[in-house]
């Protein structure tokens, strides 16, 4: 490379970089982290939107928040919790925050049961079962605080039992653990019986 070019170019590059650095000081990137933030979870996103509307006294927006999300509720109603759709529709049209929160909790429970049951059906597919259980756990995390200490812990413990019961194929067979569908089923029943109360 000719030295003349080199002489001119490099300081220019360095100056530009320093300007970029100084410019970057004024940028305000995201602050504290919550790794547990559950990503694309329609239920969690909708509930945050509902709570925002309650906080801002924007009760006229409730219908607007509910409509795009209604199909999720419809699906849960048809497959897992009959009557959920009706009570959600009523709660939104009555613009009652307590009723909406109850309906949201009921939907969360239905979704947790959907995932845990799906994991039972797919129990031989380790990866899928694992993701379904972990996703249930993330969903449960946001409503765990509404239970008392004992119930809350029992549900967490049983979720862990479920995770263990799906076994582990190991890495190329090393560390392999067998599947235990009976244990899974009893832990699942326990979770569902406690969580619904």
């Amino acid at each position: 490379m000719p030295i003349v070019n080199h002489k001119i170019k490099s300081p220019v590059i360095i100056m530009l970089s320093i300007m970029a650095l100084i410019g970057s000081l004024s940028i305000k990137p995201a602050s504290a982290y919550s790794y547990a933030a559950a990503g694309k979870e329609p239920l969690i996103e909708a509930s945050e939107a509902f709570y925002k509307a309650f906080n801002d006294d924007a009760y006229d927006d409730l219908q607007k928040i509910y409509l795009p999300f209604r199909k999720e509720i419809e699906y849960l109603d048809i497959n897992h919790d009959e009557g959920l759709l009706l009570s959600f529709d009523d709660a939104v049209s009555e613009k009652d925050d307590k009723l909406i929160i109850n309906a949201l909790n009921r939907a969360v429970i239905a979704d947790i049961s959907r995932r845990l049951n799906a994991a039972l059906i797919n129990i031989e597919n380790y990866q899928m079962a694992k993701i379904l259980i972990i996703k249930s756990k993330q969903l449960y995390d946001i409503m765990a605080q509404s239970y008392g200490a004992e119930k809350r812990q029992t549900i967490y413990d049983n979720l862990d039992i479920c995770l263990n019961a799906i076994g582990n194929p190991g890495i190329f067979g090393v560390g392999k653990k067998p599947v235990d569908a009976t244990v899974y089923k009893s832990a699942l029943d326990k979770i569902l019986s406690i969580i619904a109360k």
């Binding site: 650095l21 940028i27 995201a30």
Partner: protein, 467 residues
């Protein structure tokens, strides 16, 4: 032809050449201070300072990224190192703790060694050692139980191997660096690619091929291993986490969202550190502009530049630990180009300021992390509380299972909770001042860069008794 600078200091001070006794005194002082730091580290009680540290410990017990043991991207090299220590009988908690301390302690000697190989000067090595030893964020790296210190240690090892013309080992070490600290990806790759392109005409394949193959093989081993453990769920998690890192997690709910900290706020909080940083930045800029042709520190220059841009632009400025890599590299850049006595005087000035912080740190008695102090404070209470926090949600859930822990990330839910009737006493943990709450207790960080946490009790006027 570039000028080689093996003897600039000796050029200025020919009499230094023979003063072996002076070197011995300087090394003696350094080693005494180093031992003091080591003793101080080991006297600190075990305490977890963040969820991430808890996740790492979980990872050593049973590795599963999807279950946050540890969080994405898994830091497999770091976990593997900790697992190796457990073979010698250490508990997972202690293995993470000792790796953190030992890698922080490895930074000064490794930096000194690197500079010694680069400029072949005893005095430059001593200065580097002293500057790293007193680096204000070194105690933080040692105590946090995170992968930062370990990643920097491995990067230094890789640079030393590269300097010594051991390309295969250097490539493997660069790969290990990424397995320990994947966020160094651009800092490792951009400079190497840049140097290869820049020296394309004179590129020696006997050096570059082993470097690349070592790096790729090491990287592939870890990637394939991770994929074998986690399966396709890893890809989902990668997407969720990467997009979250860049766009989603802006999280100071209890104060308003405008209250996020930037680097200027950090400078205001830690003025001495800011002074050191700015001095180093200006000095190294001058060096870079004046001596652009020098081969000797071309690699350090470009690595430093990449690191500064990456950290200042894309890392969370609230975590001061992120600044330790640019600080270390800036010091290396200055000491590897010690051509003029002015640079040396500036560096000695920096070391003097740093020494003040060093002494201030080391005269502090051993203490628990703010998070552990809060947990200890609340653990003895039988009454059930609601604790709203965006610091250490997982840690507090684990440590205080009897209380209701709410993740302040869900800010609308939390605001609703606070506005409405509830039957619990509500505690709020925040690193920011919140005006409308009182009864605050401040739990101080142990070292520079560790956030103070404030524990609030919700003000009486918001409390109602029948939910």
């Amino acid at each position: 032809m570039p000028r080689f600078i093996n003897l600039p200091l000796i050029r200025y001070y020919p009499s230094l050449q023979n003063k072996i006794i002076l070197w011995r005194i300087l090394w003696g002082v350094n080693i005494a201070a180093y031992s003091w730091l080591a003793i101080w580290f080991f006297k600190q009680p075990f305490s977890i300072s963040s969820d991430d540290a808890l996740f790492f410990i979980g990872g050593v017990k049973s590795f599963s990224i999807l279950e946050f043991r540890p969080h994405f991207p898994g830091y497999p090299g770091f976990i593997l190192l900790a697992k190796l220590l457990t073979i010698f009988g250490l508990s997972p908690e202690n293995s993470i703790r000792y790796i953190s301390i030992l890698s922080a302690l490895a930074i000064p000697p490794l930096s000194g060694l690197l500079i010694f190989y680069k400029v072949k000067q005893q005095f430059a090595a001593i200065l580097t050692f002293a500057a790293m030893l007193t680096m204000p964020l070194l105690p933080l790296l040692g105590l946090l139980m995170l992968s930062d210190g370990c990643g920097i240690m491995m990067l230094l090892i890789a640079l030393i191997l590269q300097e010594n013309k051991k390309p295969l080992l250097a490539g493997i070490a660069f790969g290990l660096t990424l397995s320990i600290r994947p966020s160094f990806l651009l800092i490792v790759i951009i400079p190497q690619v840049f140097l290869m392109i820049k020296n394309a005409r004179t590129l020696n394949f006997k050096i570059s091929m082993p470097l690349i193959s070592g790096f790729v093989i090491c990287g592939m081993v870890f990637l394939v291993g991770l994929f074998a453990i986690e399966g396709y769920g890893l890809l989902n998690e990668a997407l969720r986490f990467t997009s979250g890192h860049f766009s989603l997690w802006g999280n100071n709910i209890l104060s308003d969202n405008d209250d996020k900290k930037n680097l200027f706020d950090m400078a205001y909080q830690a003025p001495l550190l800011a002074t050191i940083m700015i001095t180093l930045l200006i000095t190294s800029t001058v060096i870079a502009i004046k001596n652009i042709k020098l081969k000797q520190y071309n690699d350090i220059l470009i690595i430093t530049l990449t690191a500064c841009i990456w950290v200042f632009l894309f890392q969370n400025p609230e975590n001061m630990r992120h600044l330790s890599l640019p600080l270390i590299l800036l010091i290396l850049l200055i000491t590897s180009a010690m051509q003029s006595k002015y640079y040396m005087i500036i560096l000695i000035g920096v070391i003097s300021i740093q020494s003040l912080i060093f002494i201030a740190h080391l005269t502090n008695p051993p203490a628990l992390s703010p998070l552990a102090q809060i947990a200890k404070n609340l653990i003895h209470n039988d009454e059930e509380y609601m604790i709203i926090t965006n610091h250490g949600v997982a840690y507090l859930k684990y440590k205080l299972p009897m209380h209701r822990i709410s993740d302040a990330y869900y800010k609308n839910r939390v605001k609703y909770l606070l506005k409405n009737k509830n039957s619990f006493k509500i505690y709020i943990i925040s690193s920011n001042k919140i005006k409308e709450y009182f009864n605050e207790t401040i739990f101080n960080g142990r070292v520079l860069g560790e956030k103070n946490l404030i524990l609030y009790i919700q003000q009486a006027k918001y409390r109602h008794d029948n939910f």
